[in-house]
């Protein structure tokens, strides 16, 4: 085999990697936050009493579930100038990632809401809690417990999806792998390093989720 794996060859490029990794993180965190907000809105739409609003919410989720993220990114990236707005690559990537992830967030939140029995709302009503109080003390804590694990998975999904931002000229980790690989011709090394970066990020999220979970949830085992 004429190729030997030598990590040393890409040491000069590790500085850029740090910058790229920071971008990946920024992209991911922003998109996660935004998609939660939009997703919450869509979830509310889907529980609305108006049939039109419900259909709109469902349509949103179905579009995001069935259309490739890459196509969505291209549409936003190229639509900007057309509408007279100068959209930076980063902004386009964040918007695309957020809108797409929001579809999945909406489903996660909806499942969380459905899991709360109607009796909870009744008991809270009967005790005189206001809408806000009911949500804050009774509904939200229960929803949070249900969505906790799927939320963690979705966060990981966003981190992995951020790699598509390389297609719209964002200098994140995947873009670094491509660029560094083509200049140094050390594709194996750049692949392994990039993979490690993503692996570490995902495992951190996983471990963080488990640790936080143990801290927050102490409901005890069922007696039955």
């Amino acid at each position: 085999m004429g190729y030997t794996f030598t990590l040393r060859t890409i040491y000069p490029y590790l500085g850029e990697l740090a910058h790229a990794a920071a971008l990946t993180l920024e992209l991911s965190l922003l998109s996660i936050a935004l998609s939660l907000i939009v997703g919450a809105g869509v979830a509310v739409l889907r529980r609305s009493r108006s049939r039109l609003l419900r259909a709109l919410g469902t349509a949103y989720v179905e579009v995001m579930r069935n259309t490739p993220l890459l196509v969505i990114l291209y549409i936003i990236y190229f639509a900007g100038p057309g509408m007279g707005v100068r959209l930076s690559s980063f902004a386009a990537a964040v918007i695309g990632l957020s809108l797409n992830s929001a579809g999945y967030m909406a489903e996660i939140l909806r499942a969380g809401l459905i899991a709360v029995s109607t009796g909870q709302f009744e008991a809270a009503d009967a005790q005189g809690f206001s809408r806000l109080q009911t949500f804050r003390y009774i509904i939200f804590p229960q929803v949070f417990r249900t969505i906790y694990a799927p939320l963690g998975n979705q966060i990981i999904a966003v981190i992995l999806a951020s790699s598509l931002a390389s297609a719209v000229a964002v200098d994140e980790v995947t873009s670094w792998m491509q660029t560094t690989g083509s200049t140094s011709f050390r594709f194996f090394e750049t692949f392994v390093v990039a993979a490690v970066v993503y692996l570490v990020l995902c495992q951190l999220v996983n471990l963080g989720r488990l640790a936080l979970g143990r801290l927050l949830f102490r409901q005890g085992e069922s007696a039955r």
């Binding site: 029995s117 009796g119 909870q120 009744e122 008991a123 009503d125 009967a126 005790q127 005189g128 809690f129 206001s130 109080q133 003390y137 009774i138 804590p141 229960q142 417990r145 409901q219 005890g220 085992e221 069922s222 007696a223 039955r224």
Partner: protein, 244 residues
């Protein structure tokens, strides 16, 4: 003594079905009114109309002189003074028993936490569950959960207690525990509305039995009297079928 509760021609419909067909009655302080009758005849719905969980299509309900359904404010006021116990307990699963009991007085009634905790602990004594105050609902048996639910309703110092089939979802062994607590409350002189299939309880503890069928009050009298000499054929049929 002025009545605690007055129902005047109350009508409740779900779509095309009429569940309550002109209900009129009064409840005086200290009465223990037991509602009996076949399933689906509107007994639970009646209770839910009293505290505004259901809206009315006709008629009027007055609680302590005020129209319950006048506006959102009146409903909120009524809920502060009426306690409800549900068939399926509806305890808040993410809170301990103690927290369940303390939540509404602190958040809704805005009472100081220390005071509420003291009262809550006393209530746990009363329902004989002091050893379980830090347990979560999932760790409690059905009967224990229902007793916590009773403590939760009592914590708000209600003027009226409403029980919606409190023992229907319980194992036979634990039914007795819950009924015992309810008996204690009755002996204290509380005003209680109880929807139940436990005729024994109605006879032993109730001061009044109301037999409902198809959305109407068919008979309303002393439980012992109704059991021995029901005035209507339907009531007689129902009571004898339950006995069997």
């Amino acid at each position: 003594m002025s009545p605690v509760l007055t129902l005047d021609g109350v009508v409740k419909r779900f779509g095309a079905r009429t569940i309550l067909d002109g209900i009129s009655m009064t409840v005086s302080p200290g009465e223990i009114v037991c509602f009996v009758g076949p399933s689906g005849t509107g007994k639970s719905t009646l209770l839910r109309c009293v505290n505004g969980l259901e809206a009315l299509q006709g008629g009027r309900i007055n609680f302590e002189g005020r129209n319950v359904h006048e506006n959102a404010r009146s409903i909120a006021d009524v809920r502060k003074r009426v306690g409800m116990i549900f068939q399926h307990f509806n305890l808040y699963p993410h809170l301990t028993a103690l927290q369940n009991v303390m939540l509404a007085p602190v958040i809704v009634h805005k009472e100081p936490k220390a005071l509420v905790e003291e009262r809550a602990r006393a209530l746990f004594d009363k329902v004989r569950l002091s050893h379980r105050i830090n347990a979560y609902p999932a760790q409690l048996s059905g009967g224990e959960q229902q007793r916590v639910a009773i403590a939760r309703a009592l914590a708000a110092n209600p003027h009226l207690l409403m029980f919606d089939e409190p023992t229907s979802a319980l194992d036979p062994e634990t039914v007795g525990d819950v009924l015992a607590v309810m008996r204690d409350l009755a002996l204290e002189g509380r005003t209680m509305l109880v929807v139940t299939h436990e005729i024994r309880f109605a006879v032993d503890v109730g001061t009044r039995m109301v037999f409902m069928d198809q959305g109407k009050i068919v008979e309303d009298s002393d439980p012992r009297d109704m059991l021995a000499h029901a005035k209507t054929e339907r009531a007689r049929q129902f009571l004898s079928s339950i006995r069997g």
